[in-house]
């Protein structure tokens, strides 16, 4: 049934938008990357491990991961007022939780790894693009990681499960309307690290959506690996 549904940009139900992935885009950073799903473009920088201030935030047992996510003011049609909003603070936190399981900071007590994620251009799926960029940036920074984190939004328009919704699909209003379900996982493990959903979807179809998400995440993983390899080759 999904196959007959016409998506506005003509994609198949399980087809991601064009992925762009590039590692090493910010020379100052210890690790950095750009990741785009079509018109949604995210960049991420990693700084650290470095000393954490204020001192009371320090953890003597292991280093902490601190994520910041936000939109640049001109990444959306209605100018976003610069500075953190409640939305961006929430996404920063879920991004932290999405990335944490992949990274081992036990060797860095009292230190912090800062992950800075900014959206240059937004067309839905910004948090997932941000997580994909951050994951590559952490890898480039050479931090001990169990795996890369891969992320994608799946969702539903009316009764049709779709991968990687764009803004037009996210705003779909007919039938059952739009459901948006952001997922992140460790690429090679059955460990989901982000699950955030808004919309209207039957419980059984949630499973269907997750399965589709896991399936298409493989493409994200391949793109990330290629970008990391390209970066190493360039350095040589």
């Amino acid at each position: 049934m999904s196959k007959e549904f016409k998506r506005p940009d003509g994609r198949k139900h399980n087809e991601l938008r064009k992925i762009t992935a590039k590692v090493g885009v910010i020379p100052n950073a210890d690790g950095s990357a750009l990741f785009a799903f079509g018109d949604t473009v995210a960049i991420a920088a990693v700084y650290g491990p470095r000393q954490l201030h204020p001192q009371h935030m320090q953890n003597p047992a292991k280093g902490i991961l601190r994520c910041t996510y936000d939109l640049l003011s001109f990444s959306v049609y209605d100018r976003k007022k610069p500075g953190p909003s409640r939305r961006s603070m929430e996404i920063s936190k879920v991004t932290e939780w999405a990335l944490e399981p992949a990274i081992d900071l036990s060797e860095f007590p009292n230190q912090v790894v800062d992950v800075q994620i900014y959206i240059l251009q937004a067309d839905a799926g910004t948090r997932t693009a941000g997580i994909n960029a951050a994951s590559m940036a952490l890898a480039q920074a050479g931090l001990p990681m169990k795996d890369l984190v891969v992320s994608v939004a799946v969702g539903k328009n009316d009764k049709h499960i779709l991968a990687d919704l764009n803004k037009e699909e996210e705003d779909y209003e007919e039938g059952e309307g739009a459901t948006d379900f952001a997922i992140a996982k460790l690429a090679n493990y059955d460990e989901l690290t982000l699950m955030q959903m808004d919309g209207k979807i039957q419980p059984k179809r949630v499973n269907e959506a997750v399965r589709l998400g896991i399936e298409v995440c493989k493409e994200v993983y391949e793109a990330q690996k290629k970008a990391l390899k390209d970066c190493v080759m360039e350095e040589k």
């Binding site: 885009v25 910010i26 020379p27 100052n28 950073a29 210890d30 018109d39 473009v41 960049i43 991420a44 920088a45 700084y47 650290g48 491990p49 470095r50 000393q51 910041t68 640049l72 003011s73 001109f74 990444s75 959306v76 049609y77 209605d78 100018r79 610069p82 500075g83 800062d114 800075q116 994620i117 900014y118 240059l120 251009q121 937004a122």
Partner: protein, 271 residues
């Protein structure tokens, strides 16, 4: 890379080298690094630019919105320049309330542009005294390797040059999604630039890298433009406790118009 403070040894070395007219990257003291400008930042903006000046990278976007004119200028639109020194761009930048640098940067860019008369504010009026266009120019460094101010001014000018006024729908609301061909009202010949001179010991340099900037004692930024073949300094601001001498001022005034012509010519290749 997590700390960027430079050592006294580096500072002394730089000072000595500048006195001998030498730089780590073999440039002359007044040379700019190579730069390029592209327009690939955001298709949601009503004008944008990405400037790469050496390793320094700045993105600038224009957002147009309705505004109310100031009571003392009911027949003029508004310009609002803002900037955010994201911790993304440098280990020096910290989250939290804006520090002096992030307040100063957009103000210097604002004054260079405003003073030059590049924007024809009287053509940004929708209803006199009631409703005008506000041109929001937002500046974000992506990688700070020195001389952010001059890079930001170039970026702002480039973004304004490809800026446009969005269409209105039938209810008079802004329709950001509709393609518009109405360019921003700009003077055809005025292209402001800013030039920041940095003083280290007795030497004065332009376009410092982060390291050179860190080593410097003081800075002075000039906004400059050219109209009908005549150079005009439109703004000036000195930073830091160390003074400049009148002789140094005269020397800078000699360099400034020459540098303007040189950089302006290069800049136009990208506009």
């Amino acid at each position: 890379m997590s700390s960027m403070d430079i050592s006294n040894l580096t500072k002394e070395t730089l000072k000595r080298m500048f006195a001998e007219n030498k730089r780590f990257d073999y440039r002359e003291l007044n040379d700019f690094r190579d730069f390029e400008i592209t327009y690939d930042v955001s298709n949601k903006a009503e004008g944008n630019a990405r400037v790469k000046l050496g390793k320094t990278e700045v993105v600038v976007g224009i957002k147009m919105a309705f505004g109310t004119p100031y009571t003392d200028s009911p027949d003029k639109g508004n310009l609002s320049v803002s900037g955010d020194l994201l911790p993304l761009a440098s280990p020096r930048f910290e989250s939290g309330p804006p520090g002096f640098e992030s307040v100063e940067l957009p103000r210097l860019v604002d004054r260079a542009i405003r003073g030059s008369g590049m924007i024809e504010f009287d053509k940004l009026v929708i209803e006199k005294g009631v409703k005008v266009w506000t041109v929001n120019v937002d500046i974000y460094p992506i990688n700070d390797d020195g001389n952010l101010i001059d890079a930001a001014t170039m970026g702002a000018v480039a973004a304004l040059r490809n800026g446009f006024i969005p269409e209105l729908d039938k209810d008079g609301k802004i329709d950001y999604e509709k393609k518009s061909s109405k360019k921003l009202p700009l003077s055809k010949e005025v292209y402001p630039l800013s030039f920041s001179f940095f003083k280290i010991g007795d030497s004065i340099i332009l376009d410092p890298t982060r390291e050179e900037e860190e080593a410097s004692d003081t800075r002075i930024t000039f906004g400059i433009s050219k109209r009908e073949g005549e150079h005009m300094v439109n703004s000036c601001q000195k930073k830091g406790e160390k003074p400049f001498t009148t002789e140094e001022m005269e020397k800078m005034m000699e360099i400034l118009p020459k540098k303007f012509d040189e950089i302006n010519k290069k800049l136009k290749n990208f506009l």
